[in-house]
Amino acid sequence: MRSRQSYDGVAAAVPFTVPYARYSTHAAHWWLGRALAALIRESGIAKADIDGVCVSSFTLGPDTAVGLMQHLGMSPRWLDHIPMGGASGVVALRRAARAVQAGDAEVIACIAGDTNHVDSFRHTVSQFSRFAQDAVYPYGAGGPNASFALLTDHYMRQYGATREDFGKLCVAQRDNALRNPHALMKKPLTLAQYLDARPITDPIHLFDCVMPCAGAEGFLVMTEERARALKLPRVRIRSTIERHNAYPDDPIQFRGGWAMDRDALYEHAGLSPADVDFVETYDDYPVINMLQFEDLGFCAKGEAPAFVREHDFTIDGSFPFNTSGGQLSVGQAGAAGGYLGLVQALRQLTNVAGAMQVADARIGLVSGFGMINYDRGLCSGAALLERGTA
């Protein structure tokens, strides 16, 4: 295989979150428009100078990224629409980085956002995909809760994970969220509260579930030169991976695509898991965090429960993890959930994480996971990021 080229000369900058709301009467266009406006304002770049846009949204329909450009009065020379749910952030980053490197665009705004009307969630779930419509939704219409309950049930049975293990991660994330002004969850969570919560879809209980909400996230990708000229704090991309429909013959999902590409990820960056200062995973359910610990090389397959018991996952702990509080405590704003970890990592590496700041963070790992098309998540991605030098 040809060796991959580096991402030298590319910078990611200006992480921004449009504060989430449980329900919104606005359309997705409003949320995405607020994100773009903020990126322009925060960077000091003129609207007309943003010549590339990358969009992710579930509730933009019947529009696509194309219609959104007319809505927002943009005339980009490079446009992408990434419908990869929780993997959208990492994938947007790597697509945009290559476009900037190749000179197809100079400044790319990557934005993701969704609205949440009272009935949006049922609508999204019932129409999610053809396979879901034909072979999942008619079976109790439990939505992602049911799909992840099955994976969690299997994982617990196979590898001995307990509810206490999942609870430890959720409690740590809530601790982190209490330092995040944007988090929708404002109250502390104890392990006892976690364990006593009502069952939703066994073995998934209330605090294993994300809260659907409205919100948007965004960041800019540009040349390092441009970022330097604008005096923007910036982040370097050391390596990225993506994979779709990995291991289709596994009877049920117990690993994700990261396991196929993990060696390439670290090799390309010249780094190892030991070099990583903090990790932001896609956490729509706690079991997926365990899959990512294993598949991204922090422990062997099946050893995540033991890994969880050994570590402290708070911002100041031995394994700083989902430092924003993750979707479990911040909320899941549709496709913006796929940007949450990446935007938070950019904050950590540009020193704007405030009370959430991990001390001396130099290398961050972000991973994404998305799209339960039938019985498993199909898209996975990860990026190793490094604090940029002034």
Binding site: R122, A146, R198
Partner: protein, 414 residues
């Protein structure tokens, strides 16, 4: 072990009757291949004609070799239950009314992993059998069942959503004077029906045998019913319409005679009056009330059965007028199925071969005993099928029609 379903409680007459809700019905066209198998109680999936890979969910091209030659085939229905969950929350109103609801992942011996409804008697991580059943939307769904039958298995709340078991239900058999009608009543009583209304089209005609039969079981209630008389049908519906949970239309007018070689259309008119217009009169009088009662308590209105004939699908020229009336009845029944769909009431069409009764005296064997047809109907209701082919003649004709309809036309005409 499944608890036997208790008899329905007496209804509070002032309580609101619960309206029927239906499970999600949207499917891709390819996925409707599952409905074709489930309608007849078969277990079929797509298999690739080139590489043999069994496909699920249904596809347009093979997920293994990309061939477009995907055939629906009977495949092994065994598998291992590798994960389960019990839903205590659902996004859909139908399931919300029925929580908790158990589903699981089954790794099939035939290859794919499937998400299925899981019977309460299935053991975690154990072996299961998969069955394709029609749900209340009339769409095919997979049910994981215990590897071996368990007591009262069919009484599980999940399976009760797929079938039309006559147990504890009140049934109207529209013509109980015929040999088949009586066999039908007997089979229903044996199956635990709580009341069988037995239609008598000729109350003016004394029949000691019929009277003795009616007196043989206190659950039998004779009622006057002439399906060719709109007033008679309407009167009966006004009297017992709100009690009929299954209607089995056994009325028939079977006579020899073709189309060109008949003196006039008198015979045809009589056959159509019973077999087609009779069905329509019954539907107009009983259908709306049945729709309203489709979700009424544990034993609401659930099924409508038409005793047709395999000759509804392939005309028998020696009985051309009668065959035409059966074909027309089938067409009307398909409309009725669409009209009942919104309430989730199953329309089961029964296609028997020749039945061994007084009208088939000269037909050579094999002929079906009326009791065998009646037993098949009860089995069909318990299995929740939609199309029921009864007997060797019917099944053979069904297969030959699929293979070459033109051959069947020529052979039946010869």
């Amino acid at each position: 072990m499944t608890d036997a379903t208790p008899k329905p409680k007496r209804k509070n007459p002032v309580a609101r009757t619960r309206l029927p809700t239906l499970p999600p019905a949207s499917r891709s066209r390819a996925a409707l291949g599952l409905a074709r198998a489930a309608a007849e109680g078969r277990f079929e999936m797509q298999a690739c004609a080139d590489c043999g890979a069994v496909q699920y969910p249904p596809r347009e091209v093979c997920g293994s070799c990309l061939s477009e030659r995907l055939d629906w085939r009977e495949v092994a229905n065994g598998g291992a239950l590798i994960a389960t969950t019990t839903l205590r929350h659902s996004n859909d109103p139908y399931f919300r009314e029925r929580l908790p609801w158990r589903v699981g992942t089954v790794k099939m011996d035939a290859g794919p992993s499937v998400v299925a409804h899981v019977h309460e008697d299935c053991h975690e991580a154990g072996r299961v059998r998969l069955a394709l059943k029609l749900d209340r939307s009339g769409q095919a769904v997979l049910h994981a069942l215990p590897a071996e039958d368990t007591p009262n298995m069919n009484d599980s709340p999940q399976l009760r959503e797929t079938h039309c078991d006559p147990k504890h239900r009140r049934v109207l058999v529209t013509d109980g004077r015929s040999t088949l009608g009586r066999a039908m009543v007997k089979a229903l009583l044996d199956a635990g029906a709580s009341t069988v209304f037995i239609g008598d089209p000729a109350t003016w005609k004394a029949d000691a045998g019929f009277d003795a039969f009616v007196a043989s079981d206190p659950r039998i209630e004779p009622v006057a019913l002439d399906v060719t008389d709109t007033d008679s049908v309407d009167r009966l519906a006004a009297s017992i319409g709100a009690k009929v949970e299954i209607l089995i239309n056994t009325a028939d007018h079977l006579r020899d005679g073709g189309v060109m070689n008949a003196r006039d259309v008198g015979l045809a008119r009589d056959a159509f009056d019973v077999n087609v217009l009779g069905l329509m009169r019954l539907a107009q009088a009983f259908g709306p009330t049945m729709c309203f009662r489709a979700a009424d308590g544990t034993h609401g209105a659930v099924a409508w059965v038409n005793l047709l004939s395999i000759h509804a699908l392939a005309a028998l020229p020696a009985r051309g007028a009668w065959s035409a009336s059966k074909a027309a009845a089938l067409s009307a029944a398909l409309t009725l199925r669409a009209e009942f769909g919104g309430a989730g009431i199953r329309v089961m069409n029964v296609f028997p071969g020749p039945i061994d009764d007084e009208w088939e005296q000269l037909t050579p064997p094999p002929k079906l005993a009326p009791s065998a047809v009646a037993a098949a109907v009860v089995r069909g209701l318990r299995d929740g099928v939609e199309d029921l082919y009864v007997g060797d003649v019917a099944e053979e004709l069904r297969a030959r029609l699929r293979d070459n309809q033109k051959a069947v036309e020529r052979e039946l005409g010869g």
